[in-house]
């Protein structure tokens, strides 16, 4: 699921072993290592996963009682080669695969509502909060997002106008416009307006493919599955590069240390600690505690474009 087909927001060290609802910490197999005996014990990858087999594996490794450790100094550079068609197929595939993971890892008969919450008070590495988990005859997950808001708002507004409910129509129109402004505006770069508009267009249809994949995958699995990507600010410098990426990383180094680094995470729940800079680990305790909503389904998300799953020439 997930969401954000992008950055996971992990910090160096142990990751929480439970997720926020369906969103679970995981490692992408583009850059991950496992103990072989752990892989054999959990049975390796699930061949039924069209995408997200790494998510599924991480969930099962964590469920087997083992820790997940994020080591940002182990770096891999991924080279993108994408066509629009390949991109859409890929995102559609993520939606399909995530719907399967949701069905596989979440308890039945609940309607889960999520939204993004990037406030500092939210400890989830994904920046996700569960809004509600309701008893429901329909088993499913709905992600509340500006992307869905603008489409739903526009559709409802049209219905309201057609039905003669003019005041409601204008109210819904305003809501849809606010969602659209957020969705498109937050990434707008005034220095490169034409490029911003083009990238927003790509984003809009890529999200459409993603959402559609999730809905159709959910249909196949017998669940309601409405996912969304996160509406994030434009990456600094627009390159997506890591500040330490080396030549070409450019302006990352101009940022102040304070801006570049969140609060260092020291003092894990059970006594272990990770130094902010050097990474020496002392007394690894059992695991970090991460105030996760109860219930714990899990299953998350993500993958990234350019990964070699939908392997097609030119993608």
């Amino acid at each position: 699921m997930i969401i954000d087909i992008t950055k996971s927001g992990y910090r160096k060290g142990y990751l929480p072993r439970e997720g926020v609802g369906v969103f679970h910490p995981f490692f992408a197999t583009a850059n991950a290592a496992f103990r072989r005996d752990a892989l054999l014990e959990v049975g390796g990858f699930d061949p039924r996963c069209a995408t997200g087999e790494d998510i599924d594996l991480s969930i099962r490794i964590a469920a087997s009682g083992r820790e997940l450790w994020f080591e940002p100094s182990a770096r891999v550079t991924h080279h993108h080669r994408s066509t629009l068609r390949g991109l859409l197929r890929q995102w559609f595939g993520y939606g399909l695969g995530h719907a399967y993971l949701f069905r596989k890892h979440s308890p039945r008969r609940r309607l889960e509502l999520y939204r993004y919450d990037l406030s500092a008070a939210n400890p989830s590495p994904f920046g996700i909060r569960r809004v509600a988990s309701l008893p429901s005859p329909v088993h499913g997950m709905v992600f509340l997002s500006s992307y869905h808001g603008m489409h739903a708002g526009a559709a409802l507004a049209a219905g309201a106008f057609l039905g003669g409910w003019t005041a409601a129509g204008w109210l819904l129109t305003a809501g849809a416009a606010a969602c659209a402004a957020w969705y498109f505006g937050i990434r707008f770069d005034p220095r490169r307006p034409a490029r911003s508009v083009a990238l927003s267009g790509i984003r809009w249809i890529a999200d459409a493919a993603y959402v559609l994949g999730g809905l159709l995958g959910g249909l196949r699995e017998g669940v309601l599955y409405l996912e969304a990507t996160r509406t994030r600010r434009r990456p600094r410098q627009g390159s997506g590069r890591h500040p330490d990426a080396g030549p070409g990383a450019s302006d990352g180094s101009r940022r102040t240390a304070a801006a570049a680094r969140g609060p260092s995470r020291v003092g894990r729940a059970s006594g272990g600690s990770v130094t902010a800079s050097g990474g020496s680990v002392t007394a690894p305790g059992r695991r970090p505690s991460w105030p996760s909503p109860r219930g714990g389904i899990l299953a998350p998300l993500q993958g990234f474009a350019g990964r070699n799953r939908p392997r097609r020439p030119g993608v």
């Binding site: 103990r35 072989r36 083992r66 820790e67 100094s73 550079t77 590495p125 590069r241 330490d244 690894p284």
Partner: protein
């Protein structure tokens, strides 16, 4: 546990690198080149060809001397099946996965393996995934901005 300052006496875990590939000989060669430049030499590098035919073998051939290379073919389609084949072929204590369109930093193996020695409860270690030069295309730029699977937090230095 007394911290990571004295790892010398611990036995070193052996690492098997597993790469699944299909129809990407040039990218595969680039990846294998980066694996040949590692500060910590892996026990073995297993290339699982998932249907590219002779192209994968010829791309890997130049690295036979510089890497402990093994090439196996998995005819069942799909990444999970190919990766499972890699797991079953692996003889190392640790199995490291990397994609064929990626390039490893020279210290990749060293850094990815190290946490396992510190805590026996660690079952998996993940690293950072950075974006290569996105080039000129808009779709590529979009991928670099939006879909890069960067795992760490925005702005955190590794």
């Amino acid at each position: 546990m007394n911290g990571g300052s004295d790892p010398g006496s611990r036995p070193t875990a052996t690492a098997s690198v597993v790469v699944v590939t299909k129809d990407r000989p040039r990218e595969l060669a680039r990846l294998l080149g980066s694996l040949a430049r590692q500060t910590a030499r892996p026990h073995e590098v297993i290339v699982v060809d998932n249907g590219s035919g002779p192209a994968a073998a010829s791309a890997a051939a130049p690295f036979r001397d510089s890497l402990p290379l093994r090439l196996v073919t998995e005819t069942a389609p799909g990444i999970p099946a190919a990766r499972n084949r890699g797991i079953h072929e692996a003889r190392g204590d640790l199995v490291l996965f990397i994609d064929d369109d990626c390039e490893a930093d020279p210290r990749w193996v060293e850094r990815l393996v190290r946490p396992f020695a510190r805590d026996p409860h660690i079952g998996a270690v993940g690293g950072e995934i950075l974006s290569g030069d996105p080039g000129r295309g808009l779709v590529e730029a979009f991928c670099a901005d939006e879909t890069l699977l960067r795992m760490g937090r925005d702005g955190d230095a590794p």
